[in-house]
């Protein structure tokens, strides 16, 4: 059992331990990468509210809690039934399951992918010394710029690796289920997705906590989208009420490619997603959408950066949050249009529905436009349910609670409408229903 140390020291000690044990089986490039990332993490440490990017999100409770990496605390066995409940796809979906960040082959299932496509544990891909992994891992999410990407990279060991070769279309969504089970664990889901030219597929990330214990989940997803490829990406976060969930998503888009990500945040005491889309070739299209439903003292933070580095790319951001209790939401939407990026078309919308007086919102658009022939719009709004709409519904026989529920569902519908996979839409309907009360019966409990 490791002794808990303060702040970053604890993770440094675990890192050294990991280095000693793994010295033999690790490719040189990876050892180097880990050491560099660890040095970076140790030097910078956890961000504080003095850092501009963390001004509204206080990580002091996270830094003060003694979490342990998965290696020092082995995961508990998880029943097949719990895995089944945590996943949302059918048996026809290829599925990898991870418990506290570790690949669980006994729970992974689904049909084989088309020839040439690879879906495997990242650890296995590293052992096979996969050239694609060496070329892409930690090359997209900037660990030298993001301390949590650095922490993830320092301990990178297992995760999901998906490669879809050129021209291959996979119709069934690929589901990656990450279960958090052990109290006090630092789980670091790591996902690497490489989309070959003109490939087309869907990836679903499920992050599900199986208890209310405090955990620290640090997820990093890197997606490389080759010319003409189209990747749909979904994330759903249902961590336990005491968990810290930090996620970094980075997508690099090459010429004429398309990337759509849609995130649903329901759980965790503190959830932060840092998403970055970078256009590296003309004609790229990106859609970033998110919905979050929070209550109690939950804190949800989205930092989105869309980097229009080249001309003629289109980006759309749509983030909608429902806040109840004394929840707090932070949204920072940054759009960079670099000097060469003429004909950029960028739009950003962030709206909050405030269901109680105790909630707090900090929404900040940041448009940094250095080109002149561009179209960039942004809009942010906060509001309550309209009394006229509530009366309209009541006058047709619908009671107050049901009316509020309908209107709240209506508020987030715009995000759900972006979801093109039917099972994800119905999952979202169910998840929202569970949080906002069922269609009827809310009345019986009133």
């Amino acid at each position: 059992m490791t002794t808990a140390l303060a702040g970053t020291d604890r993770y440094l000690a675990e890192f050294e331990d990991l280095e000693r044990r793994n010295a033999a089986g690790t490719p040189a490039w990876l050892s180097e990468l880990r050491r560099a990332a660890m040095a970076d993490f140790a030097e910078r440490g956890f961000p504080t509210t003095r850092d501009e990017d963390w001004r509204y999100t206080n990580l002091a409770p996270l830094a003060a809690t003694p979490f342990h990496t998965v290696r020092s605390v082995p995961p508990d066995p998880v029943s097949a039934e719990r895995v089944r409940r945590a996943s949302i796809g059918s048996a026809a979906w290829p599925r990898l399951v991870f418990v506290d960040g570790r690949y669980a082959p006994e729970h992974s299932s689904g049909p084989a992918l088309p020839d040439g496509a690879r879906l495997s544990s990242l650890a296995a891909a590293v052992i096979d010394d996969d050239e694609l992994v060496a070329r892409h891992l930690a090359r997209h999410a900037r660990w030298d710029a993001d301390v949590f990407a650095a922490l993830s990279t320092a301990f990178v060991q297992d995760g999901a690796f998906l490669y879809v070769p050129a021209e291959v279309v996979i119709s069934a969504p690929i589901e990656l289920v990450f279960l958090t089970t052990r109290p006090g664990v630092l789980a670091q889901p790591r996902i690497l997705v490489v989309a070959g030219p003109h490939s087309r597929f869907t990836v679903v990330e499920r992050h599900v906590g199986l208890g209310d214990a405090a955990c620290f989940v640090n997820a990093v997803t890197e997606i490389a989208v080759a010319p003409g490829a189209s990747v749909d990406h979904y994330v759903q976060q249902e961590q336990g009420a005491s968990t810290f969930h930090l996620a970094t998503i980075h997508a690099d888009l090459e010429r004429d490619s398309a990337f759509a990500t849609c995130e649903a945040t329901f759980g965790a005491r503190l959830a932060r997603t840092t998403s970055t889309v970078r256009f590296g070739g003309e004609g790229g299209r990106a859609s970033l959408a998110g919905l979050y439903v929070t209550s109690g003292r939950q804190h949800v933070d989205h930092h989105v950066t869309v980097d229009h580095a080249v001309p003629r790319c289109t980006s759309r951001q749509l983030f909608k949050g429902v806040l109840d209790g004394s929840a707090r939401a932070v949204f920072d939407g940054r759009v960079i249009v670099r000097p060469d990026a003429q004909k950029t078309d960028a739009a950003q919308t962030n709206k909050h529905l405030l269901l109680s007086d105790g909630v707090e919102v900090d929404s900040k658009p940041r448009l940094e436009i250095f080109a002149d022939d561009v179209k960039c719009t942004h809009g942010a709004a906060e509001g309550q349910l309209a009394p006229e709409a509530i009366f309209y519904l009541k006058s047709k026989g619908i009671d107050e609670l049901a009316a509020r529920r309908l209107l709240t569902l209506g508020f987030v519908r715009e995000v759900i409408d972006r979801v093109t996979v039917e099972s994800i839409r119905s999952y979202l309907d169910r998840a929202l229903e569970a949080r906002l009360g069922p269609e009827r019966g809310s009345k019986e409990t009133a």
């Binding site: 009394p387 047709k396 309908l406 209506g410």
Partner: protein, 250 residues
């Protein structure tokens, strides 16, 4: 069915209805007419229970019950329906989802089993034809992006689906072209049964060419100043409201 006695209603501290009396029996159609600002919409909204309208005096008995004591949703479940003059737009809520919720609330209140999505859809498809709307109306968000005529027809669709005992139509005929007016009138006539009653609040006589009222009342300055048969509507059409104003002032 409905007995309004000495009803006074204010909004924002200003009195609008003053000691209004009206008796509506089952099977009857009453037209409540009057110039702008006479209190027609206030009467309709107060009967539906809009919280902005404060009842400062009088009583309303509906099927033997104290209507004013009921919250709006309970009035609706007891069979009172208000077709809004300005139907509210509700983003993200489909007409089908809204109607399903309303239907099942009504059914639960009447001790009937809830309908599932398929059963609701079947019911709605039957009723759509009555208002000359196609299925796409069901998947569109409630009233959002609807034309004025579509919004009014949507109110009539709701009425056809919810089958109220007492329907109050607040200027549902305003701003409608002749085809839409016919559709609205048809919807009203279908509801006309010996056990139902209808209050048509209107500024104009023309809907009364299609829905023949049993009684016509003129509302002015918060009071009913004249009541008669259907011929009164024609007189108002010919002479306007000025003679009423003069009479009331005299």
């Amino acid at each position: 069915m409905l007995s309004i006695r000495d009803l006074s209603v204010g909004v924002d501290g200003k009195t609008i209805l003053r000691h209004l009396n009206l008796e509506v029996r089952a099977g009857e159609v009453h037209a409540v007419m009057g110039p702008n600002g006479s209190g027609k919409s206030t009467l309709a909204q107060a009967l539906a229970g809009h919280p902005a309208y404060t009842v400062t005096g009088g009583e309303v008995t509906y099927l033997g019950k104290d209507l004013l004591a009921m919250p709006p949703e309970e009035r609706a479940r007891e069979g009172v329906f208000l077709a809004f003059q300005y139907p509210i737009e509700i983003a993200g809520v489909s007409n089908a989802a809204f109607l399903k919720a309303a239907i099942n609330e009504m059914r639960a209140a009447r001790g009937l089993e809830e309908l599932d999505a398929m059963e609701v859809l079947e019911l709605l498809e039957q009723k759509l034809a009555l208002v000359d709307m196609d299925k796409s109306f069901l998947s569109r968000p409630v009233n959002e992006g609807f034309s004025g005529g579509e919004k009014k027809r949507n109110e009539i669709l709701q009425m056809a689906v919810l089958e109220p005992k007492l329907a109050i139509l607040d200027e549902t005929d305003s701003g409608l072209d002749i085809d839409a007016l016919r559709i609205v009138a048809q919807g009203v006539n279908r509801l006309r049964r010996p056990d139902n009653a209808i209050i048509l609040v209107t500024h104009y006589q023309r809907i009364l060419n299609y829905v023949e009222p049993d009684h016509v009342h003129v509302l002015f300055d918060g009071r009913i100043v004249k009541s008669a048969g259907k011929e009164l509507a024609l007189e108002l059409e010919r002479q306007g409201y000025d003679w009423i104003k003069d009479q009331a002032a005299a």
